[in-house]
């Protein structure tokens, strides 16, 4: 069996399990980049998305200036193609994490690349929260933070999980491009060790692993979204 495998997929075997170019290393790097940037980009996106809802003209604290600034920042970052963002913010990356290559360096552009997307998703998700419920909370005498946490984030929870799933999946896509700054991961495996070396078996396995990862995220996301919905 293992001999058959080694004969049929020689390049897959050649990469090995561990080491700088091993499969486990690549999987680990992809996980690290996806969840690491999901954390930072997620927090940033949540704050911006929430801010857009709160300060919009029919929000609980309308503020034209703040809304305009948030809106423009989100739009600007969304307009920059990710592969260019990677290069363009290299000095900033170096400033923040001390290096501009590798998985950790990739966290900076990945976070900045994903947050505007997530902010818009959050904005849409929270816009779904019935304004009547917000008004009822105001009539009850709820404070600003009661409404942010107790109404928006709580009522929008299921929808937030749904858009987070979408965002996480698109983030997995972005990590593949981070290979351009030597971040490693399954993207690098598929492109640098597979495609560029005519090692199709390596490319295919890397693709398959990415697919499995996406599938797991999707299924878990769907289950959680359903669990938290009582509509």
């Amino acid at each position: 069996m293992s001999k058959w495998f080694a004969d049929t997929f020689p390049n897959v075997v050649y990469q090995g399990w561990t080491g700088d170019t091993g499969w486990l290393t690549a999987i680990g790097q992809t996980f690290y980049m996806t969840f690491g940037s999901a954390l930072f980009g997620g927090i940033l996106g949540l704050i911006f998305g929430m801010g857009l809802i709160i300060t919009s003209s029919n929000g609980i604290s309308p503020n034209r200036t703040v809304f305009w600034i948030l809106d423009k920042v989100v739009s600007t970052f969304r307009a920059v193609p990710f592969i260019i963002l990677l290069a363009a913010i290299a000095p900033l990356t170096k400033l923040i994490v001390g290096t501009q290559i590798g998985s950790t360096a990739a966290l900076v552009p990945l976070s900045l690349g994903v947050f505007p997307f997530y902010a818009r998703q959050i904005q849409v998700a929270l816009a779904e929260v019935d304004s009547g419920i917000v008004e009822a909370a105001q009539a009850i005498g709820s404070s600003f933070w009661d409404i942010v946490f107790g109404v928006y984030l709580r009522e929008g929870r299921s929808e937030i999980i749904r858009v987070s799933t979408v965002t996480l999946i698109s983030l997995i896509g972005l990590t593949a491009m981070a290979g351009a700054i030597g971040a490693g991961g399954l993207g690098t495996m598929a492109l640098s060790y597979g495609y560029q070396r005519y090692a199709n078996d390596t490319t295919w396995l890397a693709t398959l692993l990415v697919l499995v990862f996406v599938l797991i995220v999707q299924v878990v996301g769907d289950i959680l979204a359903k669990k938290f919905s009582h509509k």
């Binding site: 019935d130 009547g132 419920i133 008004e135 009822a136 909370a137 105001q138 009539a139 009850i140 005498g141 709820s142 404070s143 009661d146 107790g150 109404v151 709580r154 009522e155 929870r157 299921s158 938290f228 919905s229 009582h230 509509k231």
Partner: protein, 359 residues
Amino acid sequence: MSNPIIALDNINVTFHQKKRTIEAVKNVSVHVERGDVYGIVGYSGAGKSTLVRVINLLQEPTSGSVIVNDETFFQADSEGAKKTRITNNDLRNRRRKIGMIFQHFNLLNERTVTENVAFALQNSELPAKEKAEKVRDLLALVDLSDRAEQYPSQLSGGQKQRVAIARALANDPEILISDEATSALDPKTTNQILALLKKLNKEFGLTIVLITHEMQAVKEIANKVAVMQDGEIIERGSLLDIFAQPNEQLTKEFIETATNIDKAIATISAQPLVTNLKPNELFVRLSYVGDTTDEPLITGLFRDFQVTANILYGNIEILQDTPVGSLLIILAGTAEQVKSAIATLADHHVVIEVIKGGK
């Protein structure tokens, strides 16, 4: 007499949209006394929702003054200048004493019935145990104890509204604002909710401001009525006065929806009895309020004037424990006799309207 619990004076609310200016409420003053059930009736777009939202400043007026419980919430002169406004923190505290219920219930979908009511208590200083007890009592009051752990999506419309009422009552408010609270409910459920509101008014002295487009609802529980059209109050008074003697066309229309008397007149006018009215006959409508009805007037007509009264239709409403009636009858007798009979009826404060005379 003590001061009104709610005093809205010269309230204007103006919205500016891109190029249009909408005057939603125009120079309206409303005073609600403690213990009142004040009904504000009008079609959608009349400005009644905007007006009641001024009470708890969910809608800040452009000008006017808002005084609740002798405390000035808001004041601005007609130019919108010289504003005084309660601080946000105080406003939040005062709002807890002004319950509000809505047409679409506005319950938190992701919380159970218990959690919905408890949500209103999250800023209360009661210890957790008392809060839980309070929620239980409120749910018992609205007869929903057995639904405590369900989510709103598992409840019927009437049950949802009862949860909303329990939530609105959580902080022991003195005022309850009902914004079309029965408009999305079927007639039977509407009556249950109105009965509950009536009970709250009677037993706890809760002051209720009720806005609706259904005169039926107002008729059931209000003691005072204001009719709103195009941002203005066009007529107001006690429920009895408004029902007995409406002046404005719109008021009459609303009352018609609750009594259907005009429809009855139209139907009966098409009957042979009326179309072939004899020369000595008169088709009239009698309207009366209260005591008059205790006397046997109709029998008296024959006894004293030999005038017969053929009753074709009758509608008697009990408003505020007082009967308010409309009768459609054909009076028959000599011209002289009928004239005397009508004069006597008028003496008894019966309003007589001749719909058709015989030829």
